[in-house]
């Protein structure tokens, strides 16, 4: 039976933990708001750019074989696959990183005959795969909450370079999508070769530049946008996951404190009762 002092010590320690989880939850919810804002701010551009792309494709598609003239559209046999894994830099976010890493491992295991190389964004994914026998083509850590357009551009350039030079036959993004505060969804998205949305032009557009030339420049930009979107989604999802996890941890700590307090009171009462019995029986022995 634990002594009173031990119980009190444990209650104090759980209370301290609870304070930390509570603070982390609050920090995460403040950061979540900011991250969500960035996601929302990025949406109009993505929507409009998608429409422009569709219009240009609509204008060009009469010209015949697109994939022949634009290498970014040409799909070939997948022998060398590039997987970009976007994890968080920090833990304590529930199953956020675990789910992603599991999905990545599953992706690799499911392609034993292909050569999969990993581009790792985020410390957690790096820490896991660095010690395993996978090919790592690059890693970037420390930007999971602050990824900017420039980061997305740098990655896009690297990936397009690898795809064009034949170092990769296809490129996939693996990241957590922010669905709601309570749920994140692991997303696997193929970004190269690009599959163009089937489009017809909404209007009969005048073109300042030949539409085909414009398309050739639009395509790399659309990859940058997809990567940026993944970065922003992942940042928001990370904060949401951490907030939920820390909320659950705070509730659990309350439960433990309640249980321990109840136990502590029982033990205390039992010892008081025992002392009274001792006093009473000692007194009666004197009579």
């Amino acid at each position: 039976m634990p002594s009173l002092i031990d119980l009190r010590r444990r209650i104090r320690s759980v209370k301290n933990t609870q304070q930390i989880t509570k603070a982390m939850k609050m920090v995460a919810s403040a950061r979540l708001r900011r991250a969500q804002e960035r996601v929302v701010n990025a949406r109009p551009f993505a929507r409009m750019a998608g429409e422009v792309l569709q219009n240009v494709v609509g204008a060009v598609s009469g010209a015949g074989d697109l994939a022949g003239s634009l290498p970014l559209l040409a799909s070939r046999e997948e022998r060398k696959i590039q997987l970009v894994l976007i994890t968080a830099d920090r833990g304590l976010a529930g199953a956020f990183n675990t789910n992603l890493i599991k999905a990545a491992q599953y992706f690799i295991d499911g392609r034993p005959r292909q050569d999969v190389s990993l581009e790792l964004y985020g410390r957690k994914g790096r820490d896991y795969f660095v010690r395993r026998s996978v090919r790592i083509s690059g890693e970037v850590t420390g930007i999971s909450q602050s990824a900017t357009l420039a980061d997305a551009e740098a990655l896009a350039q690297k990936l397009i370079g690898r795809f064009s030079s034949g170092q990769a036959d296809s490129v996939y993004l693996l990241y957590n999508e922010f669905k709601s505060i309570l749920s994140q969804k692991v997303m696997l998205r193929k970004i190269l070769p690009i599959s163009v949305p089937q489009g017809t032009a909404q209007r009969d557009y005048l073109f300042e530049q030949p539409p085909a030339a414009m398309l050739a420049r639009l395509l790399p930009d659309s990859i940058v946008l997809q990567i940026l979107e993944a970065f922003l989604e992942s940042a928001a999802a990370e904060q949401a996951a951490r907030m939920t996890a820390m909320d659950a941890a705070t509730t659990n700590a309350s439960d433990v404190i309640n249980k321990l307090t109840l136990h502590l009171n029982r033990v205390r009462q039992a010892s008081i009762t025992r002392e009274i019995i001792e006093v009473v029986s000692g007194a009666s022995a004197l009579e």
Binding site: F45, V52, F207
Partner: protein, 135 residues
């Protein structure tokens, strides 16, 4: 016939502007494009330069933009710029310094100089200065 156009300016990270305007001038890749209401549909790439627009109350505004696309419809202009900054927000001193840096780099090239990038930086700084100077 519509008397105004809806002007939307967005960068990949923000929607910067959504206003009714009576006319606008966009820096296209091959020169400035003036747009009035009922313009025929048009798609173009953007260069670096100054976007000028006139609000319904006659107020004239400027914005430095660089790279991207513009889509014109009968009652709207959508500017998808890679970089954009309202003229009032431009830090003239910083832009001036950036221009000087780019200039120097181009005048005294080192072997590892990325000429395209330096030229780009120069254009960007120049367009910001131009937009700010005319306010």
């Amino acid at each position: 016939m519509a008397a105004t156009l809806r002007l939307e300016v967005a960068t990949p990270e923000h929607l910067l502007l959504k206003e009714q305007v009576t006319q606008a001038e966009v820096p296209g890749l091959q020169g400035a494009l003036g747009v009035l209401p009922e313009h025929s549909p048009l798609l173009s790439e953007l260069g670096c330069g100054t976007l000028t627009y006139v609000l319904e109350n006659g107020q004239k505004k400027r914005m430095a933009i660089c790279g991207g696309y513009v889509e014109v419809g009968p009652d709207f202009i959508r500017v998808l710029a890679n970089r954009a900054e309202a003229a009032d927000d431009i830090d003239v001193k910083r832009a001036g310094e950036a221009l000087q840096r780019a200039n120097e780099r181009l005048l005294h090239p080192t072997p590892e100089l990325d000429v395209a990038r330096a030229l780009n930086a120069m254009h960007r700084a120049q367009s910001r200065l131009d937009s700010a100077a005319r306010r």
